[in-house]
Symmetry: C2
Subunit: 428 residues, 2 copies
């Protein structure tokens, strides 16, 4: 009779990071979160100061063989090529149109910038948003054939949800374009647009046909990489992060900056050493060198000295990518609106686990019809169960879909249907 989440005691057994193998890496995350969230801890950090920053490419989703936004630029170049016939012979466009992404990247920042300006500017912010939205809905990874949005790392999604559940505000601090990321960051990561920081081009306010628009200009405004990441974090957030997550030399200064604050700080770097399930690149640990997103031996040494956690994708992650695309993820359900309350700021890890695994374990043939009568302390429940119980009949009076709140309670009604009574007595 108790609902699936109402059995006391089970919460301690639930694992908010089920895709992480047990060991020092996973333990370092739990240890940090415990230190900064436990009241009375000498390292306790109040909720508003629990700022976490995440790199995107190579940290939250796959950036190999080239970052996703390069494929976007490629498709834009193809779409715009008829209006720009000179591109077939002019670099960097010529290589790109031939599909030779490595040659394109070999042109360096200058070539990339030229491509970005030719493909990301010249329209309003709203128009650009729609272009990205349409593209990301169907664009697929050239080697796996999966949607790019299915090439996110499940362990990192769990980490985002775990931190959020512990009162953290997660920011994405990406070298990629801010307006590119904002189109899908909320849906995929549960991170709202105002918590996305990225590289940007200049925009200009104009009235067009009596309507205010922001025109995207072909001029770089900010390149959010390396030593400029702390600059952008300060500009955008105005607080020092207490935790930072990255995967390459582009994130070094973000981790250094985070560690510079007083108190306990947490830095984590993902090492891509899993050729079987993703890609293997370093050049740290003798892995091959990538064109972009290098994890150098020097960074590896610095991580050891600084006490940053290095994640071995191969050893520390049970699972890399989502097993099957699901339109509903734990993050989607839990993050908006935030299920926490001031009185109860921590989302029960059991709830996250329950939602994450609901479809395979509790739906379809595994669906178990049951009636939840409420949530109660164990001793109250024991007394109630010991009392005499008279059978009675009831039938449903209506059906509704709810967003889950703490303890699996039905927190917010999303939709309700009335039912015609066909017999039985509706329990009031």
């Amino acid at each position: 009779m108790p609902g699936p989440l109402s059995s006391a005691g089970a919460a301690v057994a639930a694992d908010p990071l089920p895709s992480w193998n047990d060991g020092p890496t996973k333990q370092s995350i739990f240890s940090f979160v415990e230190k900064v969230t436990r009241e009375g801890s000498p390292f306790f950090v109040p909720v508003p100061e629990r700022i976490a920053t995440f790199d995107n490419d190579g940290t939250l989703w796959c950036e190999t063989p080239v970052p996703v936004q390069v494929y976007f630029a490629l498709d834009r170049v193809k779409a715009l090529a008829p209006q720009n016939p000179e591109w077939t012979t002019r670099e960097p466009f010529a290589s790109l149109l031939k599909g030779d992404l490595k040659a394109t990247l070999a042109g360096g920042d200058h070539a990339l910038l030229e491509i970005v300006m030719a493909t990301h500017a010249g329209m309003t912010t709203a128009e650009f948003g729609r272009i990205v939205e349409d593209w990301i809905a169907t664009a697929k990874h050239p080697q796996t054939g999966k949607l790019f949005t299915e090439m996110t790392y499940v362990p990192m999604l769990e980490l985002l949800a775990y931190l959020l559940a512990n009162g953290f505000k997660n920011f994405i601090v990406s070298g990629g374009g801010i307006e590119f990321l904002r189109q899908w960051g909320e849906r995929i990561y549960g991170v709202p647009p105002e918590q996305v920081i990225g590289s940007s081009i200049k925009t200009q306010f104009e009235m067009r046909d009596g309507k205010p628009v922001l025109m995207r200009l072909p001029q770089l405004s900010f390149n959010n990489d390396k030593a400029d990441k702390p600059v952008a974090i300060n500009q955008h957030i105005g607080r020092w992060p207490i935790a930072a997550f990255g995967n390459s030399v582009g994130d070094q200064q973000m981790l250094e900056y985070t560690q510079g604050g007083s108190g306990v700080r947490f830095g984590l770097l993902v090492l891509h050493d899993d050729a079987a399930r993703e890609y293997a690149y370093g050049p740290a640990q003798g892995l091959p060198s990538p064109q972009l997103g290098a994890f150098t031996p020097a960074l590896y040494e610095q991580a050891k000295t600084a006490g940053w956690t290095v994640v071995s994708m191969k050893d520390d992650w049970k699972q890399v990518f989502p097993v099957e695309p699901s339109p509903v993820t734990a993050i989607n359900i839990l993050l908006e609106p935030d299920a926490t309350t001031p009185e109860d700021p921590v989302i029960d890890p059991l709830l996250i686990d329950y939602v994450s695994t609901f479809v395979p374990t509790s739906s379809g043939e595994h669906f178990d019809p049951h009636v939840t009568t409420g949530i109660a302390p164990r001793d109250y429940l024991d007394r109630m169960l010991a009392e005499p119980f008279e059978l009675f009949t009831f039938s449903p009076a209506g059906a509704a879909v709810y967003q889950l709140g703490q303890c699996g309670t039905a927190a917010k009604k999303l939709h309700a249907w009335g039912l015609k009574r066909q017999g039985g007595v509706a329990a009031e």
Copy 2:
């Protein structure tokens, strides 16, 4: 026996904007908020999209005779003058050191920029923060003798709290310096650093004595005024505001941009027409022209055409400045942590009113010791009161200070003291 906030029905009579006179201005605010927050309304806006942007100088606090940050620059110039002897004869410093602020401002943007670079750069962001914090704690308005932080507009503080209570996220979008405002914006307005947008100078990441710092450079990064306010709003928030609040031509494009989104939008401009309680300047409505912060006749006409609300400080506000400084404001209490929950996203206006007026009406000689036993629906309470009641004795077992939650419940324990029992029986 019911607590001060538990009487049902009283909430509808409470006014969340008690310092606003009744009339079309106040009504326009209520009408907008009702339209976008009532479920089922054709203009309903989901909570995450309820973005409101507020100008600061002249909108949230007094900017006359010159904006507060000019006094800060003046005091910095005085402090730094011994190291810069040439300033006594070099403009714009010479005028400033003589206390002739009008002559200083007459030097225009170029003069102001030179002063800002000389006084706001050359230190780390942390050092600058401490300088501002120390200054704002004691700096006083030259004509009223009140702390600058007591020269905020009470009706606008009520408006910030009212919007927050209705699920809005308030951003400050100021022409003033972003790092200047962030030092006190959370304490005074309840707006956290990550929701403050302002003008900025460049910063640079450096390691100094092995510690990461951001050095403030004497170069303008962004001048957040006029047509650049929408640019900054898009860069920082990535969503269109649905409400914008200003007082001058510097806010025109922010209001235009806000109105450009689809659905119901709200624009409001404060007209300073109250020489008796604050200052009177326009030049709209035949008022005198100010050096900065002009509300032009053209802007006034545009407001009429666009349907923006124009606040007459004289006629629409019962009160302008706080009557007495209070270390605890409704905003401080309500805003952090947010007392709303997904199930109950709107803070009861009665609660805001109760906290706002607590000190004069319920403390000291007006303190009424009482016991609150809980909150219950009226019919439950009636049944309980009709039952026989046996007297019993009790005494306090402890004392604690709580942050209020919905319905005046004790939501979050801030501090507790144990009491030694001196007689009586503690009720368990």
